[in-house]
């Protein structure tokens, strides 16, 4: 991984400058993992939210239990579970995908609650109107519910995305070479952890500040009433 890289530990500044390229490679892995994890969370969360609203008691109850379980157990242990147990059943995923899956699973529990809140906020009269107009369930969701809940749930989803970015360093424990893993490797070779770890911290801080500012802007730009999908 780090062949061909040299570092200069003369002063903290030159050291930081010389390891910046490696840390930035780690940053791309961090961002990719968060993006993949968040995509999984968005889809799976919607599935959970729909199942939760199922007409069948057994389905909605089971979903509620699964979501509660995912939400109340640590990401780290879920990560170990997926990483060590899945291969025993013949499903060997690359570490990166396992990590993204774990992030996605954990956050799907959160996003499903956001979806649920959004869907429940749609007034009852609109559901009745949709039934009166003979719309199918699919059409109701696509044309009535989704356009209205998108602006309502976006801020919460954005917050979870930022939270997820901050949790990606955990993936370093299953050998995903993200920023954290690379900073640790550099630390192990140079016996100088202060600079690399501080850099990782600073990059996270900048990242989250940018994301929060972006979310703030997005909230202002979005129309309150809803967005047409077509």
């Amino acid at each position: 991984m780090m062949y061909g890289f040299t570092w200069d530990t003369a002063t903290p500044l030159t050291y930081a400058w010389s390891i910046l390229p490696i840390i930035l490679i780690g940053l791309t892995v961090t961002l990719k993992a968060a993006a993949a994890g968040f995509a999984i969370a968005l889809v799976l969360g919607l599935v959970f939210a729909m199942l939760r609203r199922s007409r069948f008691r057994s389905v909605s109850w089971t979903t509620a239990c699964v979501v509660e379980f995912l939400r109340d157990t640590p990401l780290l242990v879920q990560l170990f579970f997926l990483y060590y147990v899945l291969p025993e059943y013949g499903l060997t995923l690359p570490a990166f995908l396992t990590g993204a899956l774990a992030l996605g699973l954990q956050y799907s529990a959160y996003t499903s609650e956001v979806y649920r809140g959004g869907i429940e906020a749609v007034p009852r009269g609109q559901w009745e109107a949709a039934t009166a107009l003979n719309l199918t369930r699919m059409q109701t969701y696509r044309d009535i519910v989704v356009p209205q809940i998108v602006p309502r749930i976006l801020p919460a989803m954005g917050n979870y995305m930022v939270a997820m970015i901050k949790e990606t360093p955990v993936l370093s424990v299953i050998t995903v070479l993200d920023m954290m893993a690379l900073a640790n490797m550099i630390g192990e070779r140079t016996f100088e952890y202060l600079v690399p770890l501080t850099m990782v911290g600073l990059i996270f801080l900048i990242l989250t500040l940018i994301c929060s500012a972006g979310l703030h802007r997005l909230q202002k730009v979005l129309p309150k009433a809803g967005i047409p999908l077509r």
Binding site: T73, P74, T168, L194, T208
Partner: protein
């Protein structure tokens, strides 16, 4: 039943997890109130300081903070026991999140309450202790409940700085027995059970606080 033999070790780990979580919640709550009140009531310098603390610990990852305190700080001559480091960092982290809850709840107390307090010639400290805090605390409790469970979940990360908590024990048992499914299922269930207990306790506190509704009586007494 191989997994029965894991239970004693896992139980010991669960005890360490519970103790670290509770200690972090207690210290974190103090930090949350100090920083949250400083944000609302403090002068410019104090509230900026509190804002910096909040942003610093909310904006960076807990794992980075843990490793920073564990590996980096000793290099400049400051070091603690691993358990102390774990509790301290966890408390600083959740305290930062908690301070936002405290700040939000204090800010949500209506202006009229402040005006009434001023009309009655209450000092600022008096207003805070007898008027705004008793009302705000009830608003904070549900969010604090979620944060408590978040603390329990995040406490699993201290296993990575060699503290023998539940996750650490699970890792060692797995490395010995290679029975991943059994060990990790038990561990997940252990955390789930602890979360449920924590949730019940927080609900109970919430109910007691609402029933006691400190605010009307405390304001008059």
């Amino acid at each position: 039943m191989p997994w029965v033999s894991y239970l004693p070790s896992l139980a010991q780990g669960a005890f360490v997890t519970a103790w670290i979580t509770l200690a972090a919640i207690a210290i974190g709550a103090v930090l949350a109130f100090v920083a949250g009140i400083a944000r609302v009531e403090g002068g410019r310098a104090v509230s900026t300081l509190a804002l910096c603390y909040t942003e610093l610990f909310r904006g960076t990852s807990l794992l980075v903070q843990l490793f920073w305190f564990y590996y980096a700080l000793p290099l400049i001559g400051i070091s603690f026991e691993p358990v102390a480091t774990g509790i301290l960092v966890l408390a600083l982290h959740v305290g930062a999140y908690g301070s936002e809850i405290v700040r939000g709840a204090l800010a949500s107390v209506s202006v009229q309450q402040h005006e009434a307090a001023r009309a009655l010639n209450f000092g600022r400290l008096h207003t805070l202790i007898h008027i705004t805090l008793p009302q705000a605390i009830i608003e904070m409790l549900p969010a604090f409940g979620n944060l408590a469970i978040e603390t329990l979940k995040l406490s699993s990360l201290v296993s990575l700085i060699s503290i023998a908590d539940l996750t650490f024990r699970a890792q060692s048992i797995r490395n010995l027995t290679l029975d991943s499914a059994g060990v990790y299922t038990l561990t997940l269930l252990g955390y789930f059970a602890m979360s449920l207990v924590l949730m019940l306790v927080m609900r109970l506190i919430e109910r007691l606080a609402r029933r006691g509704a400190a605010f009307p009586r405390a304001a008059h007494s």
